[in-house]
Amino acid sequence: MTQFQSKINQTKNHFNNSDVDLGFRNLVDCVLDTANTDFFKKTIELVSWKEENPDERAQFVQKSLILLQELEQLNPVQNNETEALATITDLSKKYSRSNFQIGPMNIQINSGEIWGLVGENGNGKTSLLRVIAKDLGFDEGTIRFSDDLEQLKLYNQRSHLAYIPQRTPKWHGSLKSNLKFTASQYGIFGEENELLVLMYIIRFGLWSFRDYKWSELSSGYKMRFELARTFLRKPKLLLLDEPLANLDVLAQQLILEDLKLMAASLSNPLGIILSSQQLFEVEKVADKVIFLKKGSPVYINQSKEEESSTDEVEKTILEMDLQISKEVLSDIIKDFPVEQLQFNGGIFIVHISKKSCMNEVLQKLIDSQIQITYIRDISKSSRRFFIQNT
């Protein structure tokens, strides 16, 4: 079974499980992977039909499944590039005036990978993204892109390194016309221009807003517009600075999910580096996370622990929101080897010198009939770096 076919099966499952929204977004991804204008038209027709018949949900699912069946007949060309998109070696940037330094940094970004960049404010996240986007210079080290990017002149190279700043610039005219303009700048003309733009409008849930102006869009939709515009550019490497800022939780989840799906595109896989303060949300989608502390990186592999500091692996750090006092909690967990118990901002942080003991602590709290709002094991999360040292 090809990757495409498994993606179609996955999409069918979403529809069959009544997860229509996710199913349809996957369907659009599959259509985009085919790069087939006939299927673009069919998808656009389907969305137009849905717009006219908003209550015909069952029929919409039916039509989507028919489209999926038709898609199954296709076997799109897959982009199986294995070469690293960017290899950053011993990169460092110094600010002589403030004596602040970013790096030295060593990372390798591959196609389809998402890297999260976290850290407190003023620790160099934006600067690092701009350095990778070649918007800022650096002092030492090297950044080497894939061969096809390296061959390009600097301007053209930067055209393929899409950097989206936290504050996106204002634009004039309708959302759609701006996207069409971007597409035509990238050599997508005529009917293809119209169809591809509409496909990305659909993909990022902008269909109802396609004729809106900048001032008529909310922050979330402005970010979606920026993403649609960026994906039209077919970037090799996407650098996002705080894309989740000013977004509600649902919008954050949607955008992160979209990024994950788009990064894994079969036709145009790309590498993504995104900086954010939303630690848990980022950790969910990121393959790797870099925590920047005063410019120095700590690398966290989401799938496999690769930290140099091993002392923290052997202990459990729990974050809890409980309706009890610190003294009561201290009494409940007195049987565990508690290293530290902190109460800050309404939540407890407990450091226990024992590996993976969250279930035991949870059981103890249940036995003591404590009202638990939430409990989370942050032993491997970058959240642990944001704990105030006492």
Binding site: K153, Y155, S177, Q185
Partner: protein
């Protein structure tokens, strides 16, 4: 509306730059505006303006200039907002081939199109003038005006005209009554009555001539008529002498014009004009000439361009410009032929025709043709009387009052005879200036030639604006403001540096001992080279701030526009040859660059080409990391 929408999508999908710059919309806007301004020009123009103001001033008179300025300002603001909020360059989008060239050309066309209403307003004005005052009709009236003018006596008769008509062998030599010095300074070779010894004795450096009458050396001749009473006459209380002269011309070695020797012979005035000077036959002069309506023929547009870009046509009263006495002579001859062949009725018809012309074109006037004709014909052999028809009326109501008070010219003449102040305006008047404006405007309106001056100015205006907006397209406003300020400082520094090396001389002028142009333009070239060098250093420097680089880049961009002109002027200052000939005349042999610098097309093309070459640096500079 639907068509516009389709067009918009077509442009957006096929020609993003055209869509982005809104070039077609700008042209459409300009065409519509031009059409409206054409109508404005057409409806605004009426006889009142045609007779009073040059057609080139109607644009300002009608407030069309202010209106166009406001409309264009609004258009530019809206256009700039739509253009600058999308930027392919600032978004680092891939740019199509010759993107910057096409962008600059688009800007130029847009800003040039904004000047079209000015031209079409003028077309409207001209079309209306052609309708109100067809040149063919006016040409037919040239003779009417010229002949009728002799009867509308305004006391502007000149003795020279008389002499020219009746004694073509006699030249009037200008004479200053106050100091008795001949104003004509060419060599005066006297014979017969004027003795060279007299001249020599009085001033010591005058002409010596040989007894046999052959050529003597040049010098200043002093002649006092009072010493030669046999040659003088008194006319109207002034001492006048006419001399029969023979002029011998020969090429001059040191001058463009020929040297001349005047052979002077005294002749009494009474011998020259035994019947008196004031004779109707002497009064005709050519007010309007056919030459005024003749257009030079050009082989091609380049010839026309070369000839016309600096031409300025104002020859209405050609008597004053081209061989006065000769043309007056011709005018007199044809007038005399007309007089010989005409009855009194014919003359009255002529004056009526003239009056009809004035009425038809609403030219202010007040004349009674029959009375004027009777009055003049009664005195045709001695016209030493008061002016009848003024060339303008300072006070038309006074003229009307006088007319009702005195009734006729005889009474008015009697009244005038008692007046001490002879400046009082005549009983009748014709606003000759209005007639002149009418002819001038009609001629301009029929002028088939391209107005090269206006075309060149509008293109330069477009290029200037295009460059400013182009800079905004590739740079940010703060950098541009800083660059403009730094540029101003550099200009001041250049002026100070240049002035510091000038030497004060006692003749109160600042100047250098050597070639000023060479000093100035070599300094500017060196300054430009320093800027380019700095730009090179900053571009290749790793620690240089991007802002500094961009400011230097903007300054270099501005310098590049002027660089070709600086180079041409510098080369001219190096290659030109200055020398003084044996006649102590100073000459300059210019190089080809001297002619290039004066040609707007060469300057325009060279500046534009330099900018286009410079645009190749935009992408690398913008892409350079901070």
């Amino acid at each position: 509306m639907n068509f516009l929408k389709k067009l918009d999508i077509f442009l957006l999908e096929k020609f993003p730059l055209l869509w982005h710059t809104k070039l077609l919309y700008a042209i459409f806007f300009s065409v519509v505006l031009s059409g409206l301004f054409y109508l404005w020009g057409f409806t605004f123009t009426n006889e009142y303006y045609v007779n009073r103001f040059p057609e080139s001033r109607y644009f300002e008179k009608s407030n069309a200039m202010l209106c166009l300025f406001i409309i264009n300002a609004i258009f530019i603001i809206i256009w700039a907002l739509t253009f600058y909020r999308k930027s392919a360059v600032k978004n680092l989008y891939p740019l199509q081939r010759f993107y910057f060239t096409r962008l600059l050309c688009s800007f130029m066309i847009i800003f040039w199109s904004l000047t079209w209403p000015l031209t079409t307003f003028n077309w409207g004005v001209r079309a209306k003038i052609r309708k109100l005052a067809p040149v063919e009709e006016l040409k037919n009236h040239i003779e009417t005006i010229n002949f009728a003018d002799a009867f509308l006596f305004d006391n502007s008769f000149r003795y020279g005209t008389y002499i020219g008509v009746h004694h073509p062998d006699v030249e009037e030599i200008t004479f200053d009554y106050n100091d008795s010095i001949w104003n004509d300074l060419p060599t005066i070779f006297c014979k017969d009555s004027i003795k060279s010894e007299t001249i020599k004795d009085r001033k010591g450096f005058a002409t010596a001539y040989k007894k046999d009458g052959s050529l003597a050396e040049r010098g200043l001749a002093i002649y006092e008529p009072s010493l030669h009473p046999e040659n003088n006459d008194t006319i109207e209380g002034q001492l006048v002498q006419f001399l029969v002269t023979n002029r011998i011309s020969f090429p001059s070695r040191c001058s463009d014009s020929d040297d001349a020797i005047y052979l002077i012979d005294a002749k009494k005035l009474k011998q020259l004009c035994p019947n008196g000077l004031n004779d109707l036959r002497n009064f005709s002069k050519r007010d309007v000439s056919l030459i005024y309506f003749e257009y030079p023929q050009y082989k091609n547009i380049f010839d026309e361009y070369a000839s016309r870009r600096n031409s300025y046509r104002t020859i209405y009263y050609d008597d004053y410009y081209d061989g006065e006495s000769k043309i007056s002579l011709e005018a007199n001859k044809s007038f005399n032929a007309f007089l010989d062949a005409s009855t009194k009725d014919d003359l009255l018809q002529l004056l009526e025709k003239y009056r009809s012309l004035l009425i038809r074109h609403k030219i202010n006037h007040s004349i009674n043709t029959k009375e004027i004709l009777d009055y003049v014909l009664k005195r045709q052999h001695n016209m030493d009387f008061m002016p009848i028809v003024g060339e303008s009326s300072n006070n038309p109501s006074q003229a009307k009052l006088d007319l009702s008070r005195y009734g006729n010219l005889e009474n008015y003449e009697a009244h005038r005879a008692k007046l001490v102040d002879t400046r009082e305006q005549p009983l009748y008047f014709v606003e000759k200036e209005q007639l002149e404006d009418l002819f001038s405007n009609s001629q301009e309106a029929h002028d088939p030639a391209i107005n090269w001056v206006r075309l060149t100015i509008s293109i330069f205006f477009a290029l200037g604006f295009a460059l400013i907006f182009f800079l905004f397209a590739i740079s940010n406003p703060i950098n541009l403001i800083i660059a403009a300020s730094v540029g101003g400082v550099f200009v001041i520094l250049n002026i100070l540096f240049f002035a510091a090396f000038l030497e004060r001389r006692f003749d109160s002028n600042y100047e250098t001992h050597s070639n000023v142009e060479f000093r100035l333009f070599s300094q500017l070239l060196i300054f430009s080279a320093i800027l380019y060098f700095l730009f090179y250093i900053f571009y290749n420097g790793k620690k240089v701030s991007k802002r500094l680089l961009l400011i230097t880049f903007n300054l270099c961009f501005a310098v590049t526009i002027l660089f070709p002109a600086f180079s041409f002027l510098f080369l001219e200052s190096v290659l030109k040859r200055e020398y003084t000939d044996s006649c102590i005349a100073h000459h300059t042999e210019h190089s080809i660059f001297y002619y290039w610098i004066q040609d707007p097309i060469v300057i325009w093309v060279s500046a534009f080409s330099a900018i286009l070459l410079f645009t190749h640096l935009i992408k690398p500079v913008l892409a350079k990391p901070e």
